[in-house]
Each structure stands twice: as C-alpha cells, then as structure tokens.
C-alpha cells in the first residue's frame, strides 16, 4: 500500500509540475531567440539532395540549400541563386548569372558548384531516384546510364558566376523544374573533401536560410539560422525543429497543446470536425494541390483481363465511378472530383484544360451509357465482366475502393478487391500483376509534362497500364520541340484530350494539401505546390 501511495503521489507531483508552469512540453529555446517546431510527416531518408525523394525531406533541405530558383511564400517560382538569365532563340541554351552568395562556411557559391552537383546526381553509383529529371540536359541520360563521361554533360561554368545549360529540347518550364532539389547546387569543396559524410551534422554546408545543427533519429532535426545567407536579415526564426509525425492524429493533439507550431498533414476525415469548432477552425489550412488520385487499367502486353484492351469497356468503367460521392461524402477533406489527369491551376497550360467527354453528364446518364457500351462490347447480365482491383492498404484507398466496387456493380461488373501492403502493391503494379490498380501522382514540378509524360508509351514501368497511343506520343514529342509557350500548351492539351477519350486511367479526385498551423504564426500562405519555406514565417507579436 505504501508503494502504491508513493507511486501515486509521485505521479501527482509530476502532473502538478507540468500543469503549474503551463508551458507546452518542447525543447527550451535560448533566451531572446525564436524557435519554430514543425511536424514534418516522416523521418528524412537522407538530407543529401541527391539521395532524397520525399516532400518531407524537401522541407528540410530547401531550408538549407537554395537552388537557382525558389518558391515565394505564395508558392510562385522566384529567382533564388539566379540574378538574371537569358535563353537562346531556339530555346536550347540557357545562361544564368548567379547572385553574389556564400556557403555557410564562407566560401563563395560558384557556377562550378552547380556543374559538380549535376554531374554527381547523374553518376550511376549515387543511384539517385530523381536523376531522370536532369535528362533534359544534353547527355543527362547517357551520363546516368554510364555510357558517357560526366564531363560530357551539357552544363558548364563559363566563369565563377555564370552557368550555361544546353538542353535536348526547349523547355519553358525550366525555372519551375529548377526549384526541385535535384537541381540544387552542393558545396563541391566539401563533398570532394568528405564524400558522403558531408551531410552529417557538423559537416553540412548550405547556402540557404538555415544550416544543420543536429539530427536525432526518429526524434527531430534541428536547424539554426545561417548568418551568411544572402537575405539573413529578413529571416525571423533563429531555430527550427522538424519532427517526424507519421500519425497525423497524434500530431494534431500536439499542435493543439502548443507542442508543435504546425503539422504538414491533417487526417482527411477530421477536417469537417475541426472546421466546425470555432476554437480549432483557425488552425485548418486546405488548398488544392498538384496531385491526382486515379485508377490504372492493365491493358498492355501483360494484360490479365483482355476486355480491358477494349476502349468501350474502359470508357464504361471510367464514367461509372461516382467521384462526387468519393470526394465529398467519403474523404470530405476538400478533395475535388477529377475528370482530367492534369490538376486545375497548373502553370504553362491552357485555361480550362481538357476534360473527359462525360464530365458534365449526370450520374444516371453516365450509368446508362456505361451499360450500353458494355453491352456493345459483349458484356451484360448473362456474361458479366469480372475484374480485380488491387489497392494499397493506406486509409484513403481502403475507404474509397468499396465505393468503386459498388459503382461498377451498378453497371453489372463484378469486382473483387485485393488490399495490399504499400510495398507489395507497388511491386504488383511494376510486375503488371493486376487488372485495375489504385495509384496517385503528385507533380515533381509545376508543368503539365510532369503528369502527361506518365502515359507515354516510352515511360516504361511507371506507365502502370502500358497505355500506348502513337498519336498521344507524337503530340507530346511535338510539344517538347515547340519553343512557343502558347502553342506548346495547346499541343499538350490536345494530347491529354486524346488520352482521356482512350480512358487508360480513371482520374478520381484532385488532392488537397492539408496543413495544421497555429494562428500565432504569420507568413504561412496556402498554395498550389504546398511549399512553405521557414524563412517566410514568423510569430504574431514577436518578442512577446
């Protein structure tokens, strides 16, 4: 009994202490400094821009390294290291003038740092997952495949502050592309000296607003302000902590308790609830995002259900899905029903882009037409089409696939759902061991090409359904060669229309980005690309 009383009193004292000082439980911030605590979704796989692949790594790396172009608080592409740039008449040669800037160890940022970085990321032994974004640069693919020496890459330093890039085709979207961390410079002097160890705390050198102070696995990554950053005087927070918050609901509690200032995700089905409460409503930030959830039909050489090669069958299936129900009744996080692959608001594209031809029809009309198309293809009550949907076991697909199953049952298609662990699902997609796959794509850069290239016949494995239409390929190729932006956008739109009519995929809904942000914060602006550099943020009534 004595033990019990003792234990209970200890616990009461502990909770009493925590209560009395009232401050949220988070690491102490040095006197006179401002610290930001960001819930970052997951543990960074690597802080080397050449070995990273996730948005959560991007948030940390982009606070430490600045590329030729950067994102404003509102998510617009703005010059970063670039002071000015020119493009040749054929659109193939770009020349950048660098601003006068320093790495955090005092060395100057040079054009050579960019050249070195581009050559390094393309080295086969670096095994970068995103190196293909640099295939746009002359010999990029060859260097990456090891068939050409790194020096043959179409990137060279004309002098310490002038970089020249030679491209394989005109790319008006190059500035958008160069906001991606694969195009960031690395401190060549450090990487040459330390090799892969340059990313360790104590070694890390960047040219951005912050620099790496500490990385505790599974706990946090701590950055401190870089006094040598060219715009350091306008950076508000002195330190920023990034926490891996895999569980969005747990992170939500921590934000409301003041342990975190913000979290990069909100669980979809919590949003309505949080918006209804006047106390939590100011925390919720949602905005359309450059991402599309879709279903892919396996229709290529490794087809399992040959019916899916029939365009009428694919069209019937595509039109019968009730996107409105999925987005507005099931997910309820602000997702938008999708009738195109390229999300609305994408840069370098036509106004009111193409849509599937049935987009404005009522659900009843779509179901009627779907039954008719299936009957035409030889399927009906006596000979029902049987399919399997393979999907990932993550919350959103698990929630909506039964709805798709029911939608297809309405038009007489018998569907079996196969729910797989994420890695297993992707392996099946890669091996084409599926009829219908649940997939999603988030733009790597703000240009329709980031989406439309997926359905090229030459894309390979990532074109899950092996869609191949020579007309589509030809239009995308023509767009690549077109230096005029307006004409290029038209070509891309024509290609997308052809693809939507062929229905190799079923666009389901457009993503929303969901951030939980304390109303004490300023400088957080919702935007299409969901990029929020710490340097734009501050606290309301700072100093109090």
């Amino acid at each position: 009994m004595r033990n019990l009383l003792l234990t209970l009193s200890v616990l009461m004292v502990i909770s009493g202490c925590a209560r009395e000082d009232g401050a949220p439980a988070r690491p102490a911030c040095p006197q006179g400094q401002l610290c930001l605590h960001r819930g970052n979704g997951a543990e960074p796989v690597s802080l080397d821009p050449h070995r990273s692949s996730g948005t959560w790594e991007n948030r940390i790396i982009s606070d430490m390294i600045q590329g030729m172009f950067d994102y404003s608080a509102a998510g617009e592409t703005i010059p970063g290291m670039a002071e000015s740039w020119t493009t040749s008449a054929d659109g193939l040669t770009w020349t950048f003038r660098l601003r006068d800037a320093q790495w955090s160890d005092g060395q100057s940022v040079t054009a050579e740092d960019f050249v070195y970085a581009f050559q390094r990321i393309l080295k086969p032994e670096i095994a970068s997952q995103y190196s293909y974004l640099l295939y746009l640069i002359q010999n990029g693919r060859e260097v990456n495949e090891g068939t050409a020496p790194p020096e043959s890459l179409g990137a060279r330093a004309l002098d310490a502050r002038t970089l020249e890039l030679r491209l394989i085709n005109p790319a008006p979207y190059l500035p958008e592309l160069m906001t991606h961390y694969t195009f960031y410079p690395v401190p060549s002097h450090k990487v040459r000296e330390l090799g892969d160890a340059w990313v360790q705390p104590g070694n890390y050198v960047g040219n951005g607003a912050y620099t790496l102070a500490e990385w505790r696995l599974g706990d946090h990554v701590r950055l401190v302000k870089n006094p040598r950053f060219w715009d350091a005087e306008n950076v508000c927070f002195d330190q920023v902590y990034f926490y891996p918050t895999n569980d969005a609901t747990a992170a939500e509690r921590r934000v409301f308790r003041g342990e975190l200032d913000m979290n990069a995700d909100i669980q979809s089905n919590r949003i309505q609830y949080l918006l209804a409460d006047p106390e939590t409503r100011p925390f919720v930030h949602t905005h359309t995002y450059l991402g599309t959830a879709y279903l892919a039909f396996n229709q290529g050489p490794q087809v399992r259900t040959p019916a899916l090669r029939d365009r009428r069958v694919r069209q019937a299936l595509a039109m019968a899905v009730d996107r409105d129900f999925i987005a507005n009744r099931l997910l309820r996080g602000g997702q938008v029903p999708a009738f195109s692959f390229v999300p609305p608001g994408m840069s370098n594209y036509v106004e009111n882009g193409p849509k599937a031809f049935y987009a404005d029809w009522s659900l009843e009309r779509r179901q009627r037409e779907a039954r008719r198309l299936l009957a035409e293809a030889g399927y009906g009550p006596d000979n029902p089409l049987r399919l399997e949907i393979k999907h990932r076991n993550t919350p959103d697909p698990s929630l909506m696939m039964p709805a798709v199953q029911a939608d297809w049952a309405e038009i007489g298609v018998q569907v079996q759902l196969v729910r797989n662990e994420v890695q297993i699902a992707y392996q099946s997609y890669r091996l084409r061991d599926f009829d219908v796959a649940d997939a999603a794509w988030v733009a790597d850069f703000d240009d329709p090409k980031s989406f439309l290239d997926l359905q090229l016949s030459t894309t390979g494995q990532q074109n899950y359904g092996d869609y191949a239409n020579p007309a589509y390929d030809a239009l995308l190729l023509a767009a690549d060669r077109e230096p005029n932006e307006g004409r290029r956008a038209q070509l891309l739109a024509q290609a997308e229309q052809i693809m939507l009519d062929d229905a190799p995929i079923v666009p389901l809904y457009f993503y929303v980005n969901k951030n939980l942000v304390s109303p004490r914060m300023t400088g957080f602006v919702d935007n299409l690309v969901d990029q929020h550099r710490t340097r734009w943020m501050c606290l309301r009534n700072r100093g109090q």
Partner: protein, 307 residues
C-alpha cells in the same frame, strides 16, 4: 555456477544463429523490396542501388557475408536512411526504449507486488476481488486501447501532461507512456504475487513465524514476500525483454524515438539491415535476461541448484 553460466552462453550462440537465419530468409521471402515505391526507378538506378547494398549477389552469398559482418560487429548501413547505419539506429533508439521499458517495469513491480500482497492477505474480500478485476482488465485491454483512452481523459481533465514527443526524456513526457506500458505488467505481476503469497502464507515456516508471535507486517515483509516473489523473478526476465522490446505500439502512439518504431518502419519499408539489427539485439536481450532471471532465482531460493 561459472560452468552453468558458460554452458548457457554456449547454447545461446546456436539459438542466435537460428534467429538470424530465420529473420534473414523470412525478410527476403516477404514480397516487395526496399526499392518498390510509388516512383518507379530506372533499371540502371535500381541496379546501382542493388550493387551498393550487395543485393545483386545470390542470396546464400549475401547470407554468409552478412553473418561475417555481424560477427565483426558491422550491421551495415540502412538501405532507406542512407545517411545512417544500423548502429546509429540502435545507439539512438535503444536508450529511449530502455528508459521507458525499465521505468514501466519498476512502476509495475511496485504497484503489482503491493496489490498482489494485499489481495493475498485479504483473500476472498472485496479488496481481493477488486485486484482480480483490475488484473483481468489490465491483461485484456491492449495498450493501443489504453493509450488513446488516457489521452482522451487527459484532454477532458487537462492534467497538463504532453500528448506526445520525447523532449530529451523529460519526466512529463514519460508519464503517460510509462503508465500505459506498465498496466498489463501490473496485472500479471499482481496475479503472480497473489498466487505466490497465498501459497507461502499456508506454508509451515510462516506458521512457525506466526507461532513465534511476530507481527503480521514482519511476517509478510521479512519472511513471506521473499518466497512469494520467486515465480515473479522467473517471470521478470522475459517481462523485462518484453517491455523493452514491446513498447513499439506505445512509441508509435506517443511519437517516441525508440527502437520499436524503427523496427516497424524498417519492416514496412523492407529495410533489411535495420530489421535484422533490431531482431538480433532483441534476441540477444531475451537470452541474456532469461539467464539473469535464472541466476536470480538461484540466489533467492536455496532449493534451486545450478547445475
């Protein structure tokens, strides 16, 4: 005693070898690999990655090489977290799991032994029944239920405890995870203590002590308790390993940077070296702690002879 120790340690080697072998091949047999993600990689990149981690070699060769490395203490780099080695994971994660696990066990011992003794002394009274009820509840309700319940309760009464995070192991951050982790242990320990105590209280030497006119307090604390907790000591070995390695659910809910969380993430992402490293550590831990429990039993109970 020394011979016993030596022999047990010798047996541990093949045991560990079996654990390593099973884990190695089971992990590889699981469908999906470390590089299967939503972004499908060009074949050249996959080949380069596989070469980097030796995955391009035949499986038996990989196995032998892995064993060789483990013997020299090299658990290799993580395949996913490329800036970190498996030893980094263990060095940073194990102390967290250890701190939570041991705190929970100490708490569970204090509360469990007290409750168990109380129940035995007041056999078949409401106090006894309440302890039994608590114990059954503690065993039946899993931690992934008690943790959110406690968090909800915390929100209602606002006791000021943080709802997650490690914060360098600050006391307030540890309170809830430790309580949740200790609840099932309290239940089991109180049951074991009660059973042991009931038996001992009926034994001849306690009757002798009573006949000598000793006070009930002295009888219980000086004489009965020592015998009563013997089954407990045998249980504590595996329990200790259990709470240290079993905090993975709690680490996930309270977002603690422990080893269990690395294990789950490693397994889901097919990060072979991390999973192997944690499995080996857990295996070794269970073997050593069981041995310690056996030695302790011998120390406490003169009837046990180590041979």
């Amino acid at each position: 005693m020394l011979r016993f120790l030596f022999r047990r340690l010798l047996v541990a080697i093949p045991t560990l070898l079996v654990v390593i072998t099973l884990a190695f091949f089971l992990m590889r047999a699981a469908p999906g690999g470390p590089f299967d993600t939503d972004r499908i990689l060009p074949p050249e990149v996959v080949a380069a990655m596989e070469a980097r981690f030796g995955l391009d070699k035949p499986l038996p060769v990989q196995y032998v090489e892995y064993l060789g490395n483990v013997v020299t203490g090299d658990f290799g780099p993580s395949m996913k977290y490329q800036d970190k080695t498996v030893l980094d994971f263990i060095k940073e994660g194990f102390p967290v799991s250890l701190k939570i696990g041991l705190s929970a066990l100490i708490l569970a011992m204090g509360v469990g032994v007290t409750l168990g003794s109380l129940a035995a002394l007041r056999q078949n009274t409401p106090a006894d029944y309440s302890v039994t009820a608590i114990a059954i509840l503690g065993v039946c309700v899993p931690t992934f239920v008690t943790a959110p319940l406690l968090l909800l309760l915390g929100k209602a009464v606002d006791w000021g405890l943080p709802s997650g995070g490690w914060n360098d192991g600050a006391l307030p951050n540890m309170v809830l995870p430790v309580i949740v982790l200790s609840l099932p242990q309290i239940a089991i320990i109180s049951r074991l203590t009660r059973a042991g105590m009931v038996e001992v209280l009926r034994s001849n030497y306690v009757r002798t002590a009573r006949a000598k006119g000793l006070s009930e307090w002295t009888i219980v604390t000086r004489h009965a308790l020592r015998g009563a907790i013997l089954p407990l000591v045998a249980y504590l070995g595996p329990a200790c390993a259990g709470v240290i390695t079993g905090s993975l659910v709690i680490e996930e809910i309270f977002q603690l940077p422990g080893l269990g969380r690395s294990f789950i993430i490693g397994a889901l992402q097919r990060d072979y070296p991390v999973v192997m490293g944690v499995v080996i550590l857990y295996g070794a831990l269970i073997i050593v702690l069981n041995l310690v429990a056996d030695l302790l039993t011998a120390l406490l109970d003169p009837r046990v002879r180590l041979s």
